[in-house]
């Protein structure tokens, strides 16, 4: 596999690990931190330089990237790689969800996978917990809004009864 393909694959893997908007913001912040360290102590490997400042998930990823030589040794190339990575990470489509409960990570992954499969887009989620919607969800995507909550259904039933 060529190096460029390897880089693409690595970016794709990272993108899959990013599920929510918070994940994305955190990842971008950590990439900025890594970029700040690139030109300091150039002889020290990247992972060693930043292991105290980044989270475990990113540490594992960088370790793999270093082992598979996806990340070059020169700071300039490293900087270029992370800039490319940041650009790629800005190409997500945002899907806003309002749900009645605190979702687990697994559930959010399932939702993301479903949306990715059905929209055929790289997406991230912005999830808001709102117990007042009772169940179901309210969804916003590319300026469109759809209320599929149980609260709305109950309101509709009550409205019919009143009328």
């Amino acid at each position: 596999m060529k190096k460029t393909e390897k880089i693409k694959e690595a970016i794709k893997d990272l993108k899959e690990k990013i599920i929510t908007k918070e994940d994305l913001n955190l990842t971008l912040e950590q990439i900025n931190l890594i970029e700040d360290l690139l030109f300091k102590d150039v002889t020290t490997p990247l992972l060693k330089k930043c292991e105290q400042k980044i989270n475990e998930d990113l540490k594992i990823i960088i370790k793999i990237w270093e082992e598979e030589k996806i990340i070059a040794h020169s700071p300039d190339e490293q900087f270029s790689f992370f800039e490319t990575l940041k650009k790629e990470l800005n190409h997500f489509f945002l899907v806003k969800l309002e749900i009645a409960f605190e979702p687990s990570r697994d559930f959010l992954e399932r939702v993301k996978d479903w949306l990715k499969e059905n929209l055929n887009q790289e997406i991230i989620l912005e999830v808001k917990k709102n117990p007042q919607i009772v169940g179901g969800l309210i969804i916003e995507y590319q300026g469109k809004y759809l209320d599929l909550s149980l609260a709305k259904k109950i309101d509709e039933i009550i409205e019919q009864k009143i009328l």
Binding site: S104, L115, G135, G136, L137, I139
Partner: protein
């Protein structure tokens, strides 16, 4: 010759013009004078009316005063005449009394007897008159009572009729009012019931949301979200 004729013609026209102008001036003067005369006549008539009113008032005052004086004089004369007659009458009575006191005992008794008889007769007559009067009084009284009774009956009848009419009218108004009020009450009741229904349903809605919200476990919640996504897809949301 023609020249002379023309000259005469111009002269004639000039004279005619002067006559017309004089006539117009005279007419204007005449109309102005008529106007002034009219004004004078109007003024004179107003003044005349005013003086006539004043003189009439004065004459009336004089007549009233004269009448007053005459009436005063007449009443004074009458009073004097009566005073004179009264004094004469008193004098006569006094004379009679003196004459009576001078009468002898027999004559006095005779006089007394006559007087008694006369007084008895007078008493009888008075009694008769009194009886008549009592009878008439009784008749008048009965008549008055009957008349009053009739009047009262008529008034009573009228009052009964009026009361009946008023009662009927009042009943009609009251019935209409009652119907109207009943209608208003019914409308108000329905409105309130609707409001209560609405509130109850809203309450049911709120309770249902809370109850359903609490009763749904995590798995069901997740299932509902996934079903909602499927529904959104069916509705071509994406």
């Amino acid at each position: 010759m023609d020249y002379l004729l023309n000259k005469e013609y111009i002269l004639f026209l000039s004279l005619l013009g002067i006559i017309i102008i004089l006539f117009i001036v005279f007419y204007l003067y005449l109309s102005k004078k008529i106007k002034e005369e009219k004004y004078v006549v109007l003024k004179v008539s107003q003044e005349f009316e005013e003086s006539l009113r004043k003189s009439t008032e004065e004459e009336l005052k004089k007549i009233i005063n004269d009448l007053k004086t005459r009436v005063d004089n007449f009443s004074n004369k009458i009073i004097l005449k009566y005073e004179e007659e009264l004094s004469e009458f008193i004098k006569k009575i006094e004379d009679e009394f003196i004459a009576l006191s001078l009468l002898s005992k027999e004559e006095r008794e005779k006089f007394l007897k006559e007087s008694e008889e006369k007084s008895k007769k007078l008493e009888n007559q008075i009694n008769k008159e009194f009886l008549k009067f009592t009878e008439i009084n009784s008749q008048v009284r009965n008549f008055a009572i009957n008349a009053i009774k009739k009047g009262v009956e008529t008034i009573e009848k009228n009052i009964t009729m009026e009361t009946k009419t008023i009662l009927e009218a009042t009943n009609d108004i009251v019935s209409k009012k009652i119907i109207e009020i009943e209608k208003n009450i019914e409308e108000y009741r329905n409105k309130k019931l609707e409001e209560i229904d609405k509130k109850i349903y809203q309450l049911i809605g709120r309770v249902a949301k809370i109850t359903i919200g609490h009763s749904l476990d995590l798995t069901t919640q997740e299932k509902l979200v996934m079903e909602s996504l499927e529904k959104a897809k069916k509705e071509s949301f994406f």
